[in-house]
Amino acid sequence: MRTNESNEQPTIRLSGDERDVLVARVVDGAATNTDWTTFRTLAAHDPSIWSELADTQQIHELMSQRVQSEIAAADRIELPGGLIDDRPMRARLDLVSRWGGWAAAAAILMVWFFGQPISTMALDEHDSAAAGLLGSRILLDQAKPDQAFDQYLSSGQSLGRVVGEMPERIVIETRPMPNGTIEVLYLRQIIERQVIDHAYREVRDEAGNVIPVPVELSPTVERAF
């Protein structure tokens, strides 16, 4: 900031940044006595600062209105009940993250070896057991989707094929319909298990071709899930 006191009234020259900061301080109620003096002196010689102040004030007000309305949602969010001790969950997530890459490789491996969808393979393999389990239930071709799904989960769990369903459903899209209802598209996540003999990692050669590379794993768990 430079001042020139050779005239009757002192004039002040501010850099662009200094001028912006001065206006911002006035708008935000953070101006000191010195800032106000500077502002008055500046305004006496350069009235355009008033319109700058008005524009900045207006932008701030409009933006604040919108931010307040957006973050009003925060007032509805309470902390979940009870302090959560997530050590067992963290241990499990660590396990999943260690195995995540191998799970993907294993999926490729199974398709590679069996050449057919996993679900049909599992049913063929355990056909008689599954038939026994389903015997006392509704026939699949007569079952409603939820009933068929429940049967898949329970027989899958009995056979050790299905570990369970994740509680969270992932909403992909919601669309209001003309009749006032709302259409919701979501994912359900099922955890399945499969025991395999070999694991392969997917790598790319210099030409960008995908090559499966055998991976040697040493046992880290005493028993299966």
């Binding site: 933006m63 604040s64 931010v67 973050i71 902390l79 009870g82 302090l83």
Partner: protein, 201 residues
């Protein structure tokens, strides 16, 4: 006491496992956490979902805060991580949806052109959208300043930056905003003039 002023004793108690203190801490912080999320989240992400994710993390991880003074910047980091994670999920979902239902064509035929959108915007929405288009270093302090009663000092505590940096960023950010809005006005006027000329010819 101001809404955003968190006493160290409350933070300390919350870290030590006092549920009442933790609730108080959350209530005093959730609005500015919302502003941080607005600054970092993907546009289509739901703010309420993200706030819930942050609330969950606060419960789970509050004991990992070592210094009460570090609480605000820790909470900001939790919020930014939640927003980034949502960004990654959104990208994955969008890609898989595109593959699943062939939405490339739907996107191409989307009638939401800039003209239609501009016509629907009210002025505050227009300013807000312009704020979201600023670089994050300017966007975040400006949005935090939009949280009622948040001072430069309190914003500095959240962003872990000195007050002078905060006021410079807010001032420069507003300058950028003005220029951006003026540019939009000029472009809109240019289009209107062209349309008028085409209609007259």
């Amino acid at each position: 006491m101001d809404e955003q002023d968190l006493s160290e004793s409350v933070i300390q108690a919350a870290i030590a496992g006092d549920r009442g203190a933790l609730d108080q801490l959350w209530k005093q912080s959730r609005r500015w956490v919302g502003a941080v999320l607005l600054a970092h989240k993907p546009r289509e992400a739901d703010l309420e979902d993200l706030l819930q994710a942050v609330a969950m993390q606060v419960c789970r991880k509050i004991s990992s805060v070592h210094e009460p003074k570090a609480f605000k910047s820790w909470l900001r980091t939790v919020a930014i991580n939640a927003a980034r994670e949502e960004g990654r999920k959104t990208t994955r979902r969008r890609r898989s949806m595109l593959r699943l239902v062939g939405m490339e064509q739907a996107n191409q035929s989307n009638p939401g052109s800039a003209d239609v959108i501009m016509a629907d915007w009210d002025e505050s929405q227009r300013v807000y959208q312009a704020v979201l288009s600023l670089p994050v270093g300017y966007r975040e302090p400006i949005l935090l300043r939009g949280v009622r009663s948040m001072s430069y000092q309190q914003i500095g505590e959240v962003l872990d930056l000195p007050i002078t940096t905060i006021e410079t960023r807010i001032a420069r950010g507003r300058r950028m905003l003005k220029e951006l809005l003026a540019q939009q006005d000029t472009e809109r006027e240019g289009k209107l003039c062209k349309q008028a000329a085409a209609g007259g010819g």
